[in-house]
């Protein structure tokens, strides 16, 4: 096993297998993954801060299967910070907190290509910072339909004085976020709200939208997965790589880009190189999701 060391903030981090190609059909090595995450870190870390992270690890690359890791690996360095989080009557687990560059690179050295975060921070696990609509295309539907639904959602919410932001999932769909940041609404509130919105969308756009999870209702439609608004659920973090054949990133998109590209929406996938270039030129387009304070009306 090849091994090299980097020193970050006085902490020594061993990196291994840098030449290993974790996206073999496309060609993207562990060294490139580490470089991507270190360059995107300034934009990404504020979104991860103090969240009980779940890793999806691909130790043998994206074609060889993956596993979810909630429990922060016990062989972690002493400086990796953790938070104990339990849900309901389940036993609390120590989750990793990815608050700094060294922890992010340590996780990537473990091939944790996908970083998933709950909508609430570890200190306030019952009050989400944002509400999310996970737009998931069923078989026979694609990004073009997801874009249509996202734009309708934006307008629907905007009429209710709620601003929203959108990012690609890096897989097939889109994620629409309503920032809240008031430590006020609970998951029960965000779930009721998102469910009512999803059902209203389903009622008015029955050929385009379903609010039902079951697979048989989802063919050729966009499933608005409102149930992600839950303390036990996680969403792929903005700027995280995805474990698909080609390395794409979950990336924030300006609404104008969705409007412009509505017809040819497959172009919405963002590669790591493009992600770094765009983030460095425009800044963090998801910054408002962290700071904008909004209140869900009519609950």
């Amino acid at each position: 096993m090849s091994r090299t060391f980097v020193d970050i903030s006085g902490k020594r981090l061993p990196l291994s297998n840098l030449e290993k190609d974790l996206y073999p059909s496309h060609g993207f090595t562990k060294a490139q993954i580490l470089e991507y995450y270190s360059r995107i870190a300034p934009f990404m870390l504020p979104h991860l801060k103090d969240r009980a992270m779940t890793f999806t690890r691909y130790p043998e690359g994206v074609e060889q299967g993956s596993f979810f890791e909630k429990r922060c690996p016990s062989h972690r360095p002493s400086w990796v910070r953790t938070a104990m989080v339990g849900h309901g009557d389940s036993e609390p687990l120590a989750y990793c907190l990815v608050n700094d560059l060294e922890t992010l690179l340590w996780a990537e050295n473990l091939a944790a290509l996908e970083l998933h975060a709950p909508l609430a921070r570890a200190g306030t696990p019952e009050t989400p910072d944002s509400l999310v609509f996970d737009l998931d295309p069923g078989d026979g539907a694609g990004m073009a339909e997801a874009v249509r639904v996202a734009l309708i959602l934006r307008d629907l919410l905007s009429n209710m004085a709620l601003e929203s932001w959108v990012k690609s999932s890096g897989k097939k769909g889109l994620h629409v976020f309503i920032p809240l940041n008031r430590a006020e609404a609970t998951f029960e509130d965000t779930k009721r709200f998102s469910k009512a919105v999803a059902e209203s969308m389903q009622k008015h756009y029955p050929d385009l939208v379903t609010a039902k999870m079951a697979k048989q209702y989802r063919t050729a439609k966009i499933f608005i997965n409102w149930s992600q608004n839950d303390a036990t659920k996680t969403m792929i973090s903005v700027y995280s790589l995805r474990g698909r054949a080609q390395p794409f990133v979950s990336f924030p998109l300006p609404w104008q880009e969705l409007e412009r590209l509505a017809g040819q929406a497959e172009n919405l996938q963002v590669t790591p190189e493009e992600a770094v270039r765009r983030a460095e030129s425009t800044g963090d387009l998801f910054h408002e999701v962290l700071v904008k304070e909004q209140k869900l009306p009519h609950l």
Partner: protein
């Protein structure tokens, strides 16, 4: 925030008060599985069932009973239990300092770490050093989750550990378990001594690991690689309208969206 505490308060004795947080020291190595329905892999829920007619009993119909004799119960309400619970307290009150060697490990129940809270770092360090130098542990009382515990506060490698202790009346006597006093020959004693001496090592817990856990996790990973995991259906999707004001506001907003 390194680790979230499960309790915070102060260690106190005579004029000393050290603000601390209690954090867990153990991550159980047990592999846990969920119970699924083999028809659709949905997660099964636990319900309380009447043994008389098999009907599901709702939580508001459940009361607590202490069994005095078979089929004879004394009922106890939450309020009554509350009235005899120890008062919630924010202090770990040190009663005595003891020599830890005198404590039979059978008393040790559950370990935690104590972490200094803001402003308590110096006093914490002082207690760590002095307890370590004098080889003493604190014997203290404190209330966690409505139960009063007897605990030992131990200085180890620069940090404080808190171990809850069993009360002495929880410990079963070994009377009747140990054999009588047969005479043992010097030769027998020597042989046993030689045997033991040949096996003496320094205690190194890292030499041993929970092999069953490792094997189970390896098997899980191998199976996950070989075939896609089974998928549970979505959560119960009870139909039903949202809050009436919200539904009305959505209809109004939707009318505007659709009219463009």
């Amino acid at each position: 925030m390194a680790v979230q505490g499960i309790w915070s308060g102060t260690i106190s004795f005579s004029l000393v008060a050290i603000p601390v947080r209690l954090v867990t020291a153990i991550e159980p190595g047990r592999v846990s599985f969920h119970l699924l329905h083999n028809k659709d892999y949905s997660r099964l829920a636990r319900k309380m069932v009447s043994p008389v007619d098999g009907s599901i009993v709702s939580p508001d119909e459940i009361v607590r009973g202490f069994e005095l004799a078979p089929d004879q119960y004394v009922l106890m309400t939450d309020e009554e239990l509350e009235s005899v619970s120890p008062e919630r307290s924010r202090t770990i009150e040190v009663l005595e300092f003891i020599d830890l060697k005198e404590v039979d490990p059978i008393y040790f129940d559950h370990p935690y770490y104590l972490v200094p809270a803001k402003g308590g770092e110096k006093a914490y360090q002082l207690l760590v050093e002095v307890m370590s130098r004098t080889n003493k542990a604190g014997l203290a009382k404190f209330v966690l989750a409505e139960r009063e515990y007897l605990v030992a506060i131990i200085s180890r490698e620069g940090a404080l550990e808190l171990v809850t202790l069993h009360y002495h009346d929880e410990i079963l006597s070994h009377e009747g378990l140990s054999p009588g006093k047969d005479t043992l020959s010097a030769e027998e004693k020597d042989r046993m001594t030689t045997n033991i001496k040949s096996m003496i090592e320094d205690f190194d817990p890292t030499k041993y690991s929970n092999e069953r856990r490792t094997r189970i996790m390896d098997l899980v990973m191998q199976k996950a690689k070989e075939r896609a995991p089974v998928e549970a259906p979505g959560m119960a999707e009870e139909p039903g309208d949202g809050p009436p004001d919200l539904v009305a506001a959505l209809e109004e907003s939707m009318r505007k969206v659709r009219s463009r």
